[in-house]
Subunit: 239 residues, 2 copies
């Protein structure tokens, strides 16, 4: 089976640059802060519950996450947590927002190379300001036609975004670390998807079983293998 | 002077629906909460300082504002504020995010009418998720070609957005309540701007003097007067 792919969409967090490791680091500090009140598994469980309850209202991103952290800390300590400790949670937030961008291994060369052959978009979700800051600081912003920042990644939002960009779905391939956000909705719409797993996956992004769209779904160990794989499965239109 | 305007950009908060009144309400409750520690003018001043310091990192929107409120409260009380009081600040945040949308007087009819004659965009700034929720709940989403949500409104971001939408600036008019965000950058780029003041203006949006771009800047008491004014200043291309 051969495909005519013209446009590549790259997820950003944990696909182009490290992100989940910042949350991992934050969780450690947060659990330490609350260690005198509860074991870390209780803290983690309650925090996740709060996050899920607030997700519809707060959306994805560090600021909403921080508000959930504060709320959980107050509830878990029956209001005994000190204001100074809450101030530290806000400091963690600021540290995450200010953190330098660290590209994943192989990303810069691969994206530079593919940008010469394809229309390349960055398609991400989360806080508008924070995502824009990361793109600007990434050093590879010039490779992208532009960035599309969605409040969520699902069949509806991909469909709307691709229609707005005038991209036929059969000519589109998405590359990302999340089966739930980057792979499944794009396959459902009829596009191609390349899954490049990250070391860590946020619980909310877990899915039960792997996709099975034969010929349109591919798994990669590293983004470095993407150009060769694209060469193999695509044909070029002769202009 | 006659202009050929094809596209109207509407600001959202305090132009189409009430917003600043929610912040006014919030400020009252916040000052009451801290009344045993400080007078309200001290509270207001310190909160504004915190907001400005955090603006670059947090951006516009209710979640960043709430984090600034918590930070200010801790600092103003030297850490004496109770966790329960901080929980109330987060509750205010949630109430603001969940607040029903109240259209300003005359908006629905005016936008409906203009959408038949012009390409109509919604151009707003702030939290992606929150702005999308408000648009969806507004009852007038169908009038807009689509919504453009920016992290900030300035010469660069308008310029980029209009280029992306393929809108020649001389055919573009922006309608909004903020001289700083809706009027001045658009006039500077060479477009038209209609200022419809709201009862309240956030301190950060204040500007010293009124714009003076003769023939491209207009002041309106109510959005109801917009169609007649547009009729007066524009000519129609005969297809």
């Amino acid at each position: 089976m051969s495909a005519h792919i013209t446009t590549l969409g790259f997820d950003a967090d944990d696909t182009l640059w490290h992100n989940e490791n910042l949350f991992e680091e934050h969780h450690k500090k947060y659990c330490q802060l609350l260690a005198e009140y509860h074991d870390s598994d209780v803290v983690e469980e309650r925090l996740y519950e709060t996050e899920m309850r607030n997700l519809e209202l707060f959306g994805y991103g560090i600021k909403g996450f921080t508000l959930s952290c504060i709320e959980t800390a107050i509830s878990l300590t029956n209001g005994q947590i000190k204001a100074e400790e809450i101030r530290r949670i806000i400091d963690y937030c600021r540290q995450m927002l200010e953190h330098p961008i660290e590209l994943l291994e192989g990303v810069a060369e691969t994206v530079e190379k593919l940008a010469k052959e394809y229309r390349v978009l960055l398609i991400t979700k989360g806080d508008l300001r924070d995502q824009e800051r990361k793109i600007a600081a990434s050093g590879i912003a010039h490779c992208f036609d532009h960035a599309v920042i969605l409040s969520d990644k699902n069949v509806e939002s991909y469909s709307r975004a691709l229609r707005k960009e005038n991209i036929p779905i059969e000519q589109f391939a998405m590359i990302g670390n999340s089966l739930k956000s980057d792979v499944l909705p794009v396959l459902e719409l009829g596009g191609h998807a390349f899954h490049v797993p990250y070391r860590l996956t946020w619980k909310h992004e877990h899915v039960e079983k792997s996709p099975s769209s034969h010929g349109r779904f591919f798994q990669l160990d590293t983004i470095r293998n993407l150009p060769a794989l694209l060469d193999k499965i695509t044909y070029r239109k002769v202009d």
